[in-house]
Structures are given as structure tokens and as C-alpha cells.
Symmetry: C2
């Protein structure tokens, strides 16, 4: 049995489909549909289990109440958390989210963007993988686009991210204040803006404190494997008194390596990390970290896209949210 349509209701009630459409859309006041008609129509509609066809509506309406969300890796807790808040906000506002996992691959990202355009999504929230904003800029001429987490420097595309510079600067100072100078920083993907900003913050703190020469930067990937390998190498090699990992994934690898070397945190070596996933409360040793306001990021990104969709002017198109320190027991004062 097929879905019922306005025509079906029309046949049963005797009213025209325009009257029915209006009655069901709560426009009876505007068009002076009689109370009697409204009641009859609603009753029959319920009887027939009528649900207005989304795609048919879409031909007549300017919007789809659908937003595309593109993230590099949905299984990464950081992006999963962002997705969660955005999906949740969407729910509350009658929107629906199409989630794309780009696997950090530019071609997948591009193909996905195109398929979202075809589907007439109202807007796109993206943690971009590409480092060329051109394609996204073109899209943003047609529909609203908001960048989250990762952004581009010289484009008009609005973004919401963490103040990565400030976070890294603060983290480094936590170590410096505890008299650590030989600090190893294990970084993620060197090309990503988030990594660049963190490195920038780290080096500035080292420089200002006069310990620039003792700063060490290693690695090139936001993965546990990278943290593991670089930590092992560094322990043999440059023997830092403290390690600053630029993500919680890197941290995991570092911890495993330190454990294999039977190094106690913070007795033998101090550690601080970017990110604060839910499981970090349960890590032992517990690691002091720089928490990104992930939930805020999701909510703000959603609100911004909604604002843009409704045609309102965005006054502050670029937002860097302040990170916060989560103090735990991984830093020893020398």
C-alpha cells in the first residue's frame, strides 16, 4: 500500500488540495479555512497516515532543512564529539545532518561536497582536509559554508576553532614554570593549521623564557603510532625532562613508550598534552592537558550556519575559542 497524498485526502473530504495543504500547514487563519473544514481534513489525514512528501515540498520551498557535515575521521573522539553536538543541535532545530567521513582524503572530500550540492543541502559544516580553499569558496557563493577546527588563513570563509596558539603557549608555560627546559614537543601533521599554531605557541613560550635552544620538535602525524615511535627515539637520543604531545592520540603512543621504558610520570618525566577526551579522566597516570571547547565549537558552528542560512549577517565570522587547562598529576616541579 502506497503512501497517501493530498489527492487522496481531497477525494475523501471533497476539499481541494490547496485547501488541504493550507489546513495541514496551519495556515487556516491566513486563508480563512473554516474550522469545520480544518477538523475534517486533519481527521482524514490522520486516518490515512498522511505524511507530506519531503521531496515534493522541496520543489516548492527554498530549503531542505538538511546540513552536510564533513569530518576527516569520525572515529577520532575529537571529531566524534563535534559530530555529536552538531547532530544534537540539529535535532533540536528540526534539521538533519548528513555525515561524511572524508578519511582525510581530498578526492573523497570533493566528491562528497558535490553530492551534497546536488541534494540541495541548506549549508555545509566542514573540517577541511584540502589545503586549497578555492573549491570551498566557490561553493560558499551558492550556499553557506562554515569551517570548524581547521581553517584557512587568507579566505573569507568563516570559521570556528580553538585558540591553538594560546593553548600551546599555556601548556608550555606549565612545564617551564616547573623548571623544565629540555622539552620535547611531538607534533601532528605539519601542514595542518592547528599544528602550525600549536608549534607557534610552543616556540614563542620557549623563546620568551630564553630556552629556545632546548626546544625539540619531532614527528609528523596525529597518531598514536607517531607518539610511540618518536618517544622511543627521543628517549635514547635527546633525553628530554618533559614531553608535550600535540594531541591525545599522540599522547597514547607516548605513554606506551614511557611505560615500556619503565619511566614513571611525573617522577622520571613530565608530560602535558593537547586535547582532553572523555577517557583521559580514566588514564593512569592522569595527564594534565589542554582541553579544547569541543562542545562549544559544535554548537557555535551550528548556530553560525543557521544564521547564515536565514540570511543574517555574520558579525564575527572568525572565532577562536579559548582552551582550558585540566590539571592532573603529570608535571613534577624540578
Amino acid at each position: 500500500m502506497k503512501r497517501s497524498t493530498l489527492t487522496d485526502i481531497s477525494k475523501q473530504t471533497g476539499y481541494s488540495i490547496s485547501t488541504i495543504s493550507r489546513a495541514l500547514n496551519g495556515k487556516s487563519k491566513d486563508y480563512r479555512i473554516s474550522q469545520e473544514a480544518v477538523e475534517k481534513i486533519i481527521k482524514v489525514a490522520e486516518n490515512l497516515k498522511f505524511r507530506s512528501d519531503f521531496h515534493a515540498q522541496n520543489l516548492c520551498r527554498p530549503n531542505t532543512r538538511t546540513i552536510g557535515l564533513l569530518v576527516p575521521h569520525i572515529e577520532n573522539p575529537f571529531f566524534a564529539e563535534i559530530a555529536k553536538t552538531i547532530i544534537h543541535e540539529a535535532q533540536k532545530n528540526g534539521y538533519i545532518i548528513i555525515v561524511i567521513d572524508t578519511m582525510d582524503k581530498v578526492e573523497i572530500e570533493k566528491r562528497a561536497l558535490e553530492s551534497l550540492l546536488v541534494r540541495n543541502v541548506d549549508g555545509i559544516i566542514i573540517v577541511p582536509t584540502t589545503d586549497d580553499p578555492l573549491f570551498l569558496e566557490k561553493i560558499s557563493l551558492k550556499i553557506p559554508v562554515v569551517l570548524a577546527d581547521r581553517y584557512f588563513e587568507q579566505t573569507p570563509l568563516p570559521y570556528i576553532s580553538t585558540d591553538n596558539y594560546q593553548g600551546a603557549y599555556t601548556a608550555t608555560n606549565l612545564l617551564l614554570n616547573a623548571k623544565h627546559h629540555r622539552i620535547l614537543c611531538i607534533q601532528g601533521n605539519r601542514n595542518s593549521i592547528t599544528n602550525k599554531e600549536r608549534i607557534h605557541g610552543f616556540m614563542d613560550a620557549m623563546h620568551i623564557s630564553g630556552h629556545e635552544s632546548e626546544a625539540m620538535i619531532r614527528g609528523n602525524d596525529f597518531s598514536a603510532r607517531n607518539g610511540y615511535i618518536e618517544t622511543k627515539l627521543a628517549l635514547k637520543d635527546i633525553r628530554p625532562t618533559a614531553i608535550f604531545t600535540l594531541s591525545s592520540t599522540i599522547l597514547l603512543g607516548t605513554l606506551k613508550a614511557l611505560n615500556e621504558y619503565k619511566l614513571n610520570i611525573p617522577k622520571d618525566i613530565s608530560v602535558v598534552s593537547f586535547d582532553n577526551n572523555s577517557y583521559m579522566d580514566y588514564l593512569s597516570p592522569s595527564i594534565t592537558s589542554i582541553a579544547q571547547p569541543v562542545e562549544q565549537m559544535g554548537i557555535r558552528a551550528f548556530n553560525m550556519i543557521i544564521k547564515m542560512i536565514s540570511g543574517k549577517k555574520i558579525i564575527h565570522p572568525d572565532i577562536l575559542l579559548p582552551p582550558s587547562i585540566v590539571k592532573r598529576d603529570s608535571i613534577r616541579t624540578i
Copy 2:
């Protein structure tokens, strides 16, 4: 500047929209569109950056190439991994996934299902929250529905899950074989089928080995908090020689508690857990666990829904995939 339509191409080429539609859909052979016409049409279409409108197509076509995916918590690594594989498979097959995070709440789930129906999705993959299959059964009369991970016992709804019974049975025997008898099992949500099956497997192993009386079951939530609290209580109280946690989230809490009590794994206490998330490779101590075939689950669920969408008969509608043992160093033989 608005999107271009078939009519625009018609005006520029002089061909009718039906000819254009056919030429662009590669049906020129079937309808004998001349090579000349096809070339001209394609050229103009490219010039105008024509993209067929998805919603208009949808009025004429039976399918939307869209699948709804409902999970209880997208930020849970287990569900995130499932979502990842499904999104990825969809990508490869020209489908798109609408992801809903039901937050394990029945009303959200129900509302979301309705909004998916309105949007004419081709099928639904769901890790159900509700324990009443009725609503889902009704939906499955209209469009294909596949359950993943969680399922119902007495319904015709097809499902893909892990053989939770077998997994728990195996895990328990790992402990029993190492001569542990006083085993604490910390469970998750008691109402969930997955938990029930695991408890069932645990108790059967204890029973068969003749140590039923030494089995202890505590807790009622798949959360780290639950693991933490129950472990602390049990250590004061019943002093098990081994703990079996029924999920990796519970495990995290348990580890924190054991660490606070300065208990060494496996010297002082043995541990085995269900689930094997990516971060477990980096936990120290490293915990022997029962890995669910998460990727397989996602792929199979997707393949099954595609098969159902294309109207093929499902020969084995209910599948329990075998879990596997990941041996690490958390069990000491007494």
C-alpha cells in the same frame, strides 16, 4: 545566479527537455538520440554547470540513495567505528548516510525515525534503543530495516550482531583456565540483549567448570563510572582474583580504581574485557580482550540493507559474527 535546469539547456540547444534528459542520463542508445545532439547537449550542460536536481528526480524515481543510521551514542568508539564503516561503504556505492544520535532515548529515536520516513530514505540501519520492536516492525513493512549490535528476540527484523554469548564464554574460560574462580563480572545495562547474552555466557562457563558459586555480577551501566565504582566496592568487599568487564568503557573505570588501590595487573589481579578499541593497544597495562568484529558488522549491515532495498530475498536474516581473542598481558596463571 540560480542553478541551471533542463529548460535552460533546452533553450540554448533547441532540443526538447525529454531529449536532453535522456542524453544526459546516457540513454541516447535506447532512444536513438543522434551523436550530434548528445555532444551539443553535454557541452552546453557543462557550460551551464548543470546538476540534475535531486528532489525533482526523486518525484519520478523510486529511490533516494539515502540511508538512515541511528546509533545510541556516536561518540562511543564502538558505534563511531560502525558508523565509519557504514559511511564508507555508502560512499563507495553512491549512497549517503543520515546519521542520528539517539542518545539512547526512545522518544528521540522515534521522532528521528519519522523524519527519516518523510524524507523517503531507502532503508534504515539501527542500533535500537527501544525494547519494543513494534514501531520498527511497522516501519519495516514500508522500507527495509536492519538491526545492528542490539536486536530483538521474537521479531522478524533481521540483525547483525556479535556472538556475545560465545565471547563472554571464551573470556571467562581464559580466566578459569588460569585457575581463577573468584571472578567479578561488571556488567552494563541489564536490559540490553548484548549484556544479557554476555552474562549468559559468563554464567554458563562458571557453571560448567563447577565454580558457579564463586561468580559475582555487579553494576548496571556501560560507563567508565560504573566500572570505577563497582571495582572500588568489590575490592573492599568481595575481593575477586579476577575481573571481567563487559565493555571497554567499563574497563577504563576499573583500571582507574585498580590503579588507585595500587594493584598490579596481572600480579595482584587479573583482568579481561569485552571490546577492543583502537586505544587499547596503547593502554598500559595492556588488557586481554574479546574483540568484536566491528568493521565486519558495519559492512554486513550495509550489504544487507542494499540487498533488501534491491528487493532480493535475505536468506540468513540473522547473523551472529564470531568475536576474537586479543591476547595481552593481563591474566596471571595462579
